[in-house]
């Protein structure tokens, strides 16, 4: 971490931030998309209705949840179907799921519901229209769902330890937006108030799926024993989120949207910088910081995974946070530039500890930083200047791509990995270039390698030649020259590591993106995929009007520690 002078105004360098190991250490913050989404719902005093609930005793049927935002209606249409255990897979290549969902633009009529019932359960194999804004599916967390239904039907609430261990009733395996399978292009909704920020339609979808999952458990329990069944207690409901299994698809997205990537990180770094610049910490904020440290400690105690690498990191994090909490005293927080000093002190600890503390110090500073969420979307990735000279491109490479030029591509391992789209339901995968077929169709995640190739060809070009003229002869370099130009104006647009190295851990990119979503309890299952929990601790539909929607960073399950 930078050894910053207290109160300095420079953002952290991309060379520090945009490294895979640090990106793989990120935590959710109050700028995360789930948090900004909940604040928006509160600003609209959003009310959710359930105009359709057609479920049999086993919980199979269809339902509609509607919400009015900025004078327009949106509806989650949910379908619940019987599924054999052998068909239940959280791979994107599965072909059947317990539940299927679309976010509908408006309130669907019966014809809409009938049409969607024929298509939504088939997901990628169905066809959709511009009335659908997202498409998703989820499987029940079978053992926990059955446990909850069983307990409720006997008039009891779920076991606290099981609730802590699982934390959700359903787990999504994909939430599609932006024109996939015929649904509406993002262009249709990007200027509507609820969806200006990144992934807000997807957040609305998942938040409503959470409501549906709990209503479904209540419904099945009630049907099982109408005389004795109770509903999930509101405290328990709040502790339930929506699980998600996330695979490789998120990693190419980050590389393919460099302006968007930059905007997320720039907002985060700007927020950090604003907080670092605070000269005096009011007593009330200091008390909140101390509370948040206690909460973070409790959260870490409840964060338990099977993955050995992450388990070791969590153990380290618990120890480091305990040490840090000794350092963070009311007296120190009362001194000048307390947050800059705290973040500098964190530099002696693990990357995960540094980023946890960064997220923590942002938390009490909503009025200072929440406006930054307005700048996290990007309307276009089309940045290209054909009039730039070859010498200017060379200078940009020298100043911004030193990290790429330092990679030794003579090592076979440096180019071992390639990313491709599998013919099996178009799932992104990685392979070994030297032992597996398909490298000729690899996705362009080999940025550093392309920069090296460009440098070689630029060496023979006239320095005054324009990019337009250069590309007329060497069109293969268009992709990387565009990235270099984007990076000049968007310094956080590039992941500064070799994404085709045999030792690359895609999980770092997944965690980074999921942290920006606002997910917590990262549960890596390999270097290639992870499970997470979304909206755990978030307000329920009945909580919005009460206005207390913003205090759920790093949720702690009460009574479970």
């Amino acid at each position: 971490m930078n050894q910053a002078v207290a109160g300095e105004t420079r953002l952290r360098s991309p060379d520090v931030v945009m490294r895979l190991d640090r990106m793989g250490s990120f935590f959710p913050t109050r700028l995360s998309f789930m948090r900004s989404f909940m604040r928006y719902l509160a600003s609209e005093l959003a009310q959710v209705s359930r105009p359709v609930w057609q479920m049999n005793a086993q919980g199979f049927g269809r339902a509609v949840y509607s919400v009015r935002l900025a004078k327009q209606d949106y509806s989650l249409v949910a379908f619940s179907n019987a599924l054999k255990d052998e068909d239940r897979s959280d791979r994107v290549i599965a072909s059947a799921w317990d539940t299927a969902f679309v976010l509908f633009d408006g309130v669907p009529d019966v014809d809409d519901l009938d049409r969607l019932q024929k298509n939504a359960p088939h997901q990628e194999a169905g066809r959709f229209t511009g009335s659908e804004l997202t498409l998703s599916r989820a499987n029940k967390s079978t053992r926990f769902f059955e446990h909850v239904v069983d307990r409720l039907s006997r008039g009891e609430q779920p076991d606290a330890a099981l609730l802590t261990k699982t934390g959700y009733l359903m787990r999504t395996t994909a939430v599609y937006g932006n024109g996939k399978f015929g649904i509406a292009d993002r262009r249709k909704i990007m200027h509507r108030a609820p969806f200006k920020g990144p992934y807000q339609a997807e957040m609305l979808t998942v938040w409503l799926i959470r409501e549906f999952s709990m209503d479904l458990a209540d419904h099945v329990a009630s049907a099982r024993d109408p005389a004795n069944a109770v509903c999930l207690h509101s405290d328990v409901r709040r502790q339930l989120g929506v699980g998600n299994a996330t695979g490789l698809g998120m990693a190419p997205f980050l590389v393919n949207h460099p302006v968007l990537l930059n905007n997320w990180v720039r907002a985060y770094e700007t927020a950090l910088n604003r907080v670092r610049a605070i000269k005096r910490c009011p007593d009330k904020v200091a008390q909140t910081i101390l509370l948040l440290i206690r909460r973070a400690k409790a959260h870490l105690q409840q964060w338990s995974v099977d993955d050995e690498i992450q388990t070791a990191r969590i153990i380290t994090l618990r120890r480091e946070l305990a040490e840090i909490s000794d350092f963070v005293t009311p007296a120190r927080l009362a001194g000048p530039y307390p947050f800059a000093k705290l973040l500098d002190a964190a530099g002696a600890y693990s990357l995960e500890c540094q980023e946890l503390l960064a997220a923590l110090v942002l938390e009490p500073h909503g009025p200072l930083i929440d406006d930054l969420t307005d700048e996290m979307a990007s309307e276009t990735e089309d940045v290209f200047d054909p009039s730039m000279t070859v010498s200017a491109v060379r200078r940009l490479i020298d100043s911004n791509y030193d990290w790429a030029l330092q990679i030794d591509f003579t090592r076979q391992r440096a180019t071992e990995m390639f990313w491709y789209t599998s013919a099996a339901k178009l799932e992104p995968r990685v392979g070994n270039r030297f032992t597996e077929p398909g490298a000729e169709w690899e996705m362009p995640l080999d940025i550093a390698f392309r920069v090296r190739a460009l440098v070689r060809d630029l060496a023979g070009a006239d320095a005054k030649m324009t990019v337009a003229r250069f590309l007329a002869g060497k069109p293969a370099h268009r992709y990387v020259i565009q990235r270099i130009q984007i990076n000049a104006a968007h310094p956080y647009s590039e992941i500064r590591d070799n994404l085709i190295d045999g030792g690359c851990r895609p999980i770092d990119m997944l965690r980074f993106k999921l942290a920006f979503f606002g997910a917590s309890k990262f549960d890596p299952k390999s270097d290639l995929w992870t499970r997470i929990n979304m909206f755990q601790g978030a307000p329920l539909r009945g909580d919005i009007a009460a206005g207390d929607v913003d205090d759920w960073w790093l949720p702690v399950l009460e009574g479970a520690v």
């Binding site: 239940r88 897979s89 787990r171 996939k180 649904i183 292009d185 089309d382 337009a468 003229r469 069109p475």
Partner: protein
């Protein structure tokens, strides 16, 4: 086939890459197809003839003034045509002779004009005249999908032709054309193997916990 704009862009992008167009350039071909569809012209149909027989190299001559190119392969040279026209002061215009897809050249010109905030005119050998400025299209006659000549120039004269603004999707593509472009795109999908399934893919094999 009714599709979203994204489906047109991404499918044409993949098809162009599968046909030998480099990354980056292929993406722009996808954008051109999407732009055409948004302006009421079938972008997929426009793209297909430009992705055939791309083994022929199509080098823009290192010349000045009005540059004439014979046997023009629009998918290969179209982007450079627009960039040199807009940003190389020594270039006055282009005449693409026997262009494989004049209407794809219109799509590329449309995307470029919009991106760079410039105006461009195109005249087609069939008599069509088009002016593109910003996101607007003014066109006389019907789009020409057959191979032919097309002339491209800056600073076109203002015309009174009806204005076509970009529309949001969905867009219609003839089933046969969609199947053809999708088949081309599918060439970049790598067949799965036991190894790729077990080692290269994210997520687990069962979801019964």
């Amino acid at each position: 086939m009714i599709t979203s704009g994204f489906e047109i862009l991404s499918t044409v992008d993949k098809a162009a890459f599968a046909s030998g167009i480099p990354r980056g350039q292929a993406r722009e071909i996808g954008r051109a197809a999407q732009w055409l569809s948004a302006h009421g012209i079938d972008g997929v149909r426009a793209t297909l003839p430009a992705l055939k027989n791309l083994t022929t190299h199509c080098q823009i001559p290192d010349a000045t003034g009005e540059i004439i190119m014979a046997d023009a392969r629009v998918a290969r040279c179209g982007l450079s045509v627009m960039e040199l026209l807009f940003f190389d002061a020594s270039v006055d215009g282009f005449e693409l002779r026997a262009a494989d897809s004049p209407v794809l050249m219109l799509g590329i010109a449309g995307v470029s004009a919009q991106a760079y905030g410039k105006a461009v005119g195109l005249t087609f050998s069939g008599g069509g005249v088009v002016v593109v400025q910003g996101g607007q299209l003014k066109m006389t006659g019907q789009p020409e999908f057959a191979a032919g000549d097309v002339r491209i120039f800056c600073d076109p004269v203002e015309r009174d032709d009806p204005v076509t603004e970009a529309q949001d999707g969905p867009f219609e593509t003839a089933d046969g054309h969609w199947q053809e472009i999708a088949a081309l795109a599918s060439r970049i999908y790598v067949p799965e193997s036991e190894s790729s399934r077990n080692v290269g893919a994210g997520a687990g094999l069962t979801d019964n916990d």
